[in-house]
């Protein structure tokens, strides 16, 4: 290929563009550093004994000490397990209940399809803030307060409309021919759903799972209203987490606290490593707009 001649460009143009490029990279670098600053401090603190943090805040975590993690993980494992139980059972429940609905709304014709679908969609217009009080009352009436399963019931119900909306939209785009072929082979609608529609819908199911994970994993107010002290989820346990390990009775134990925060970030980190693709693709596709 021939290099393009650029005769019309003024002599200092290239230089100016270089300056611009340098400026852009510098700005990006500074912003990136600022974005990570607090997180880096957290990691640094988590690797140093609290005594040293109070002695000199800025020294580097070298050599790293893992005693904080030992304390934090030992203390927080029950809460972490509870949180993971709530999160994964809720997500599984949402998907298991929403998939058949989404299939019916997306791929089946039946009297009342559209009005019922709008009935489901309209729920998304109800802001959560108005539901807090009646949910609390409902939980008390149904005896769901105080147990993880009660919490899960509310998450499964609350996750339905959005999941149905996303999944049914996806089901609608699937080719009719495959389903036609299955029907000719004598497959029932349930078989078509389990054998064809769901396996082909993994990307959207992952998206729904991730979005619900992000919402449920660090939900704070609702579990606080629902759960007793002995059944706290992870973010609840971390709120007042201040293990009395050291000699700083009146001061926060920064080291184990920071380690607890890092520990609490691990599940989401794993989700991002394995599923960030879906998340970024979904949002940058440009399809998301009002």
């Amino acid at each position: 290929m021939r290099t393009q001649p650029t005769p019309s460009v003024q002599p200092n143009y290239r230089q100016r563009r270089q300056w611009t490029t340098v400026l852009i990279y510098t700005l990006l670098g500074v912003l990136l550093f600022l974005s990570f600053f607090v997180i880096l401090i957290m990691i640094s603190l988590s690797l140093r004994p609290t005594a040293l943090i109070y002695a000199d805040f800025w020294s580097l975590p070298w050599p790293p000490v893992f005693i904080n993690y030992q304390t934090a993980i030992f203390d927080l494992i029950p809460a972490m397990l509870r949180t993971l139980l709530v999160t994964f059972v809720s997500i599984a429940g949402i998907l298991i209940i929403a998939c058949p609905s989404a299939y019916a709304f997306g791929r089946m014709r039946f009297p009342g399809n559209e009005p019922l679908f709008y009935l489901v969609l309209a729920v998304m217009m109800i802001p959560g803030v108005i539901l807090l009080t009646p949910h609390f009352i409902l939980a008390q009436q149904l005896g769901l307060r105080g147990s993880l399963w009660g919490l899960i019931a509310f998450y499964i119900a609350g996750g339905q409309p959005f999941a149905i909306f996303l999944i049914s939209t996806f089901f609608r785009t699937q080719a009719e021919e495959i389903f036609e072929a299955a029907r000719i082979d004598g497959a029932s609608e349930l078989q078509a759903l389990i054998r064809i529609a769901v396996p082909l819908a993994w990307p959207i199911l992952m998206t729904v799972a991730i979005l619900n994970f992000l919402g449920i994993y660090d939900d704070f107010i609702w579990p606080r209203l629902m759960l007793p002290q002995t059944q706290q989820t992870l973010v609840l346990a971390l709120e007042r987490y201040n293990p009395q390990v050291g000699e700083f009775l009146s001061r926060p134990e920064l080291g184990p606290q920071a380690a607890g925060y890092v520990f609490a970030s691990i599940p989401q980190l794993l989700i991002f490593v394995f599923a960030m693709r879906y998340f970024i693709q979904g949002l940058t596709s440009g399809a998301v707009k009002a």
Partner: protein
């Protein structure tokens, strides 16, 4: 019946071609007319019958009360009553004929019709025995304060007395006729709230810790039972086979011989103040604190529920003779109760239920018959039903979701509106109070006003934070020439999102820590020690510290949305701009901003409704403090819920809902205008 061939698919011919008469099924139509006639007939008959049944159960009498707290019937149409001015009154023929003042509050009043003895117990521990003309006969010093008094037919009196509020220093004592010392005294385990005695000498009492106990003729405990609420009234049947207990929450509980609860009904939410039994009709009458009278039959069916006055119904007295009763309200005219009317009223209530059900059924049948009578509708309906049945799997598929949504979304949303018009709370009686919650919230609630101001500031800053830095970063990355660099930077800027948002809140709480917080440390490094402070503990800085948290505000969500928007802008537009020699600045304003309007709108919606609804982070940072410096309405709602003040919390929720709604409409309107400009 249907004489047309099965129609499959839709006819292209207009339906109007079918002759009108042939379109109607004569037999079904005749059936419909018959149904209609039946409805008219049944309604007419019921109307006449119910009108005849409606005899007045409660009629006013000539006696009136002014502050009467207790009343007892003597024989010969005479009554003795105690009032709030510590007087005992003798009422005869509708007039007060005599009165006797006492130095302290009358805590117990009893009378025995047989010998005309009247017993008055006062809070100074004295029981005064009067004759039927209110002439003092004897005084018995019991001690403590008298809280209950009974005059059983066998003579003497039963008295409940003690000291202290919510203490166990309360006793039930029986003083035989003519004595001035109790024959026995039994300690109760809590403050006594009601007392009763049977002809066989069995004493019954209830205590404020929700217990009912029975003592035998020697004061030995026979049985004891714990109920759900503190009893306020006890009414045993004369033979002791049943005891009806009224409580503080408006429940009526029937206890069997050994105290086993047989049934509970809740005719009201207000405390029961009086109970009486009408033996001839075997109906219990109860009066509550809110001026209502209830009739309950022996199996717990509520036969009557009628509000007759505003205040307490302090006593219901059986009258000798015709089997009637008398209700004594605290103020106003006394009322006669005719138990015979109640049985009719009970039938009427039951009949009314049947009537409504029958009507609903008949009307449904009529509508169905009319639909079926029109051939076209009949066929359409049959087709739809066949179709629905064929696709029944679809209904089974959507059923679980729909049930969950109805129970956990629609029902609570409806209840939120309903509760906001009530004073529903964990304690007290729920009443519809109209707009009172809203009036209080918007006009006189200081916390709400402060919280609203804070919320407005948070909304504004939230919008700025979402719209500026993420867009800047997106533009900078978009300006990079190398695809790989773009990808790397994009991923790096999304990476902080691995820290859950609440953990970020905890981190920033650490940043603002007064001892070893990052911010104070940084200020120390730059030699600005004088600026160090407890950022979240200072009224001046707390709100701004909360707003400032999250710097530099590059959240993954708006960043990716802007990134996606920019990538979607056609390259040709940029090429054209370049040819025209547009600077980056003018390209940004002329191309990027207008074409990113959908993204702006989406983010405006999310940050707006997020700022109204999100208060978890404020709760974690400051709990709304110091003082009320960081209060927001959402947080106030949370506190109201934890305090059990659900009506008010619902009203706050509804107001916030309205704000989100108005904001959404505004943002959508903005969209239409933007379209029109284009």
């Amino acid at each position: 019946m249907n004489t047309y061939p099965e129609q499959t698919g839709r006819s292209v011919l207009p339906r109007a071609r079918v002759p009108a008469r042939a379109g109607l099924n004569q037999r079904t139509l005749r059936f419909a007319v018959l149904l209609f006639a039946l409805i008219l007939l049944i309604n007419g008959a019921m109307f006449v019958y119910l009108n005849r049944l409606d005899t007045d159960v409660v009629t006013p009498r000539s006696e009136t009360s002014q502050g009467v707290i207790q009343a007892i019937a003597l024989d010969g149409g005479r009554f003795v009553a105690a009032n709030l001015s510590n007087e005992v009154l003798l009422v005869e023929g509708g007039e007060v004929v005599n009165s006797l003042p006492f130095p302290t509050v009358v805590g117990g009043l009893a009378a025995r019709a047989a010998d005309g003895r009247i017993y008055v117990g006062t809070t100074d521990g004295l029981v005064t025995i009067l004759d039927d003309q209110l002439q003092p006969l004897q005084e018995v010093m019991i001690g403590g304060r008298i809280v209950g008094l009974e005059a059983p037919p066998q003579g003497g009196f039963l008295v409940a007395h003690g000291v202290g509020a919510y203490s166990d220093r309360y006793w039930v004592s029986y003083v035989p006729e003519g004595d001035d010392q109790p024959a026995w005294s039994t300690q109760a385990d809590f403050t006594i709230s009601a007392l009763a005695m049977l002809a066989d000498g069995t004493a019954l009492f209830s205590t404020l810790n929700s217990r009912v106990a029975a003592l035998d003729a020697n004061g030995q405990e026979r049985w004891k039972v714990t109920l759900g609420q503190p009893p306020t009234e006890l009414e045993p049947l004369p033979d002791g086979s049943r005891v009806l207990v009224g409580d503080d929450r408006g429940n009526l509980t029937l206890l069997g011989q050994d105290g086993t609860p047989l049934w509970v009904v809740a005719p009201t939410q207000y405390p029961i103040r009086s109970i009486a039994h009408a033996p001839e009709d075997d109906v219990f009458f109860a009066g509550d604190e809110h001026g209502s009278i209830f009739a309950v039959n022996d199996v717990g069916g509520v036969l009557l529920s009628q509000q007759v006055t505003q205040g307490n119904i302090d006593d219901i007295l059986p009258l000798s003779g015709d089997g009637g009763l008398l209700a004594v309200p605290r103020n106003g005219a006394w009322l006669s109760i005719t138990p015979q009317g109640v049985t009719g009223a009970g039938t009427a209530i039951q009949l009314r239920t049947v009537w409504i059900g029958l009507n609903a059924g008949l009307i449904a049948a009529l509508l169905a018959a009319l639909v079926l009578a029109v051939e076209r509708w009949r066929r359409a309906l049959a087709q739809q039903l066949r179709f629905a049945f064929k696709q029944r799997a679809a209904y089974i598929f959507i059923l679980p979701s729909l049930l969950l949504i109805l129970v956990f979304s629609y029902y609570p949303a409806a209840m939120a509106f309903y509760h906001s018009f009530t004073n529903f709370s964990a304690r007290g009686v729920t009443e519809l109070i109209g707009l009172d919650n809203y009036v209080k919230l918007l006009r006189s609630d200081f916390y709400f006003r402060v919280g609203f101001g804070n919320m407005a500031l948070i909304i504004l800053t939230n919008l700025i934070k979402t719209m500026t830095v993420p867009l800047l970063v997106a533009e900078l990355i978009f300006a990079l020439r190398k695809e790989v660099h773009r990808y790397v930077f994009r991923t790096l800027f999304v990476l902080p999102a691995v820290v859950p948002s609440l953990i970020t809140v905890y981190l920033w709480r650490m940043v603002y820590d007064p001892y070893a917080g990052l911010l104070n440390q940084l200020l120390g490094v730059f030699g600005m020690d004088h600026l160090q402070r407890a950022w979240l503990g200072n009224e001046q800085t707390a709100l701004w510290a909360i707003i400032g948290a999250g710097f530099p505000y590059i959240s993954a969500f708006p960043f990716l949305i802007f990134m996606g928007g920019l990538l979607n802008i056609s390259q040709e537009l940029y090429d054209a701009a370049k040819i025209d020699g547009a600077t980056w600045w003018s390209r940004f304003w002329r191309i990027d901003v207008p074409l990113l309007i959908p993204q702006f709108r989406l983010l405006a919606f999310f940050s707006f409704s997020g700022a109204i609804q999100g208060f978890a982070h404020i709760f974690i940072y400051t709990r709304g403090g110091p003082g009320y410096a960081t209060y927001v309405p959402g947080l106030q709602m949370y506190y109201r819920i934890t305090e059990g003040d659900f009506g008010y919390a619902s009203a706050i929720g509804v107001v916030l809902f309205m704000m989100v709604l108005i904001g959404t409409i505004f943002i959508l309107r903005f969209r239409r205008e933007a379209f029109e400009v284009q």
